[in-house]
């Protein structure tokens, strides 16, 4: 399983963390079934939001497209 923790703190929200949730909803069902999504706060790095932690690795200034790429790699899907 892949654990994705998305910071829902105000600083990250202001930089668009809500769209990270939306992006995850749009993943292919097969990949989505391997992912556990959790809202959390705070992961630190408030000036570099949105902050997302995937399997204990922290990512800063995450965009939906970057996140999708990381997850597809971890989920073992090429496309």
């Amino acid at each position: 399983m892949i654990t994705v923790e998305i910071c829902i703190g105000t600083a990250c929200h202001l930089m668009g963390s809500e769209e990270i949730f939306t992006a995850l909803e749009e993943l292919p069902p097969k990949l989505k079934s391997k992912i556990v999504i959790r809202g959390t706060s705070c992961l630190g790095g408030c000036d570099r939001g949105p902050v997302v932690r995937i399997n204990n690795q922290t990512y800063y200034r995450v965009t939906p497209s970057e996140l999708k790429a990381v997850l597809k790699k971890l989920g073992g899907e090429d496309s």
Partner: protein, 467 residues
């Protein structure tokens, strides 16, 4: 269109947050000149031709954050800050074009693309009323001096090979207030503009933005003045996933607000009085200032149909003023038109975006706060004012009437044009300038699909008591 947090939004919010931080900490005059460099080093770079232009645009954004006009980057920031610190109130017009950020988008508005199949029919030629388009060497070519940009060829081409290109700001403006002015910069005609602010979220270069009112508010908070927040019904869901209204109110308290009120209460009263106001001829709402402005400017013969009632914001402000004349009143909502609706009643009007920047500047994380207990909530109808259809529903709750709805300025104008000629086949017309109602406002923080869900969830909570 889906409201996504664009790079432009992120830049505007970072600038607002940093200006707020300096103001809260009394470092504005000392450190403001360094701010463009700090923001640049923090990642706001590589969008434009060079670092000098990047910082020049940032300086204009800083001026707007201070509530000052852009000046073409001709003056030091400290001058803008000195003026801003003396000002009790930010003056309109709030919507401003940052000339140096405007890309003067080319306006060759009819364009034949490579998708032209040099067909046999030549529908484009036949459709053109000015003989301005011809197939030459197998491709349609437009003679610029003959073309009147009517767009008939665009519709005539079966391949969709001809495009009508409009500047994004002009396309976003449903009242045709934006045009290409001297030097081809975007200009806003104040005689036509209704301040809806949709242009501010449409320009991909971020060249149209709004003057912020955070500074006078911060100064009054620091002075220890009694500051009261009037919170718009569209607040649920704006400040993050699972953030409750109670947490928002706790955050406002922590920021220094003496008191916070939900405007849904005033909306309840407005709906009741609007239902009572209804006479023989049809009535339309007065709560959306951009829509009201539209009726007054473009449909003066229909003016008499606008409800005489003040908006919920103005009504609540009037009442508080009576009992508490010295309080500093701040409206907080999704709207830019509200900024100029009732300057005599409100001391400041902030967007949800501006408020969130203040929270971040003060390191207030709403998700960590224990919710403030809200003893009584407005009715589901008053709270429902936030979404398109909500005002009409609230009025219907008091009186059985036939309603018509205009969702967004384009639709409102269609209905009003018909109403002007043929009358309206309804008792009540609900007009909302922003698509989807207030939830689609330019000062929101999330897409309306997200806030709609949050509002529906919030409406499940009872009116009377709520934990």
């Amino acid at each position: 269109m889906r409201r996504i947090t664009s790079e432009i939004d992120k830049i505007r919010r970072q600038v607002l947050t940093e200006v707020a931080r300096l103001a809260f900490e009394g470092r504005l005059l000392r450190e403001l000149e360094d701010l463009p460099y700090k923001l640049f080093d923090n990642g706001i770079k590589n969008y434009r031709c060079c670092q000098f232009k990047e910082r020049a645009v940032l300086r204009e954004r800083i001026r707007l954050s201070l509530g000052e006009n852009p000046v073409g980057d001709r003056e030091p920031l400290v001058k803008a800050a000195t003026q801003a610190l003396k000002r009790e109130k930010v003056e309109g017009p709030m919507l401003q074009v940052i000339d140096i950020a405007c890309d003067k988008c080319p306006i060759d508005s009819i364009l034949v693309t490579d998708a032209c199949r040099h067909c046999v029919a030549h529908n484009c030629e036949n459709a053109c009323p000015r003989d301005a388009i011809h197939v030459i060497n197998g491709k349609a070519v437009i003679e610029k001096d003959k073309c009147i940009e009517c767009g008939l060829c665009v519709g005539a081409c079966e391949f969709g090979a001809i495009l009508k290109i409009q500047r994004p700001c002009e396309r976003a403006c449903q009242v045709n207030a934006i045009s290409s002015g001297d030097d081809r910069h975007a200009t806003i005609d104040p005689a036509l503009c209704v301040n809806c602010g949709q242009c501010t979220i449409s320009c991909p270069f971020g060249a149209i933005s709004y003057k912020s009112e955070i500074l006078p508010l911060i100064l009054n908070l620091l002075d220890g003045r009694k500051v009261i927040a009037l919170v718009a019904p569209s607040a649920p869901g704006q400040f993050g996933r699972n953030i409750s209204m109670g947490q928002l109110f706790a955050g406002l308290k922590k920021l220094g607000f003496a008191q916070s009120l939900e405007l849904g209460f005033a909306a309840d009263e407005v709906a009741q009085r609007e239902a009572a106001e209804m006479g023989d001829s049809w009535l339309t709402n007065s709560c959306c200032p951009a829509y009201k402005d539209l009726v007054q400017k473009r449909y003066p013969t229909l003016k008499e149909h606008i409800s005489d009632l003040p908006s919920p914001m103005a009504l609540a402000a009037q009442k508080i003023r009576e009992s508490d004349p010295d309080a500093y009143l701040v409206f907080i909502g999704p709207c830019l038109a509200k900024k100029t609706e009732a300057p005599q009643l409100l001391d400041a009007v902030l967007t949800f975006e501006e408020l969130a920047c203040l929270f971040v500047a003060r390191d207030i994380n709403l998700s960590k706060l224990a919710p403030k207990k809200l003893e009584v909530r407005p009715s589901v109808y008053g709270r429902g004012f936030a979404a398109s259809g909500g005002v009409a529903r609230a009025v219907e709750n008091h009186k059985k009437v036939k309603v018509e709805r205009g969702d967004g300025l384009a639709e409102c104008q269609r209905i009003l044009t018909l109403a002007q000629k043929l009358g309206l086949d309804a008792d009540f017309l609900e007009g909302m300038a922003c698509p989807g109602g207030c939830l689609g406002g330019p000062g929101t923080l999330v897409d309306s699909t997200v806030s709609k869900r949050a509002l529906a969830l919030d409406l499940k909570q009872p009116d009377k008591k709520n934990g």
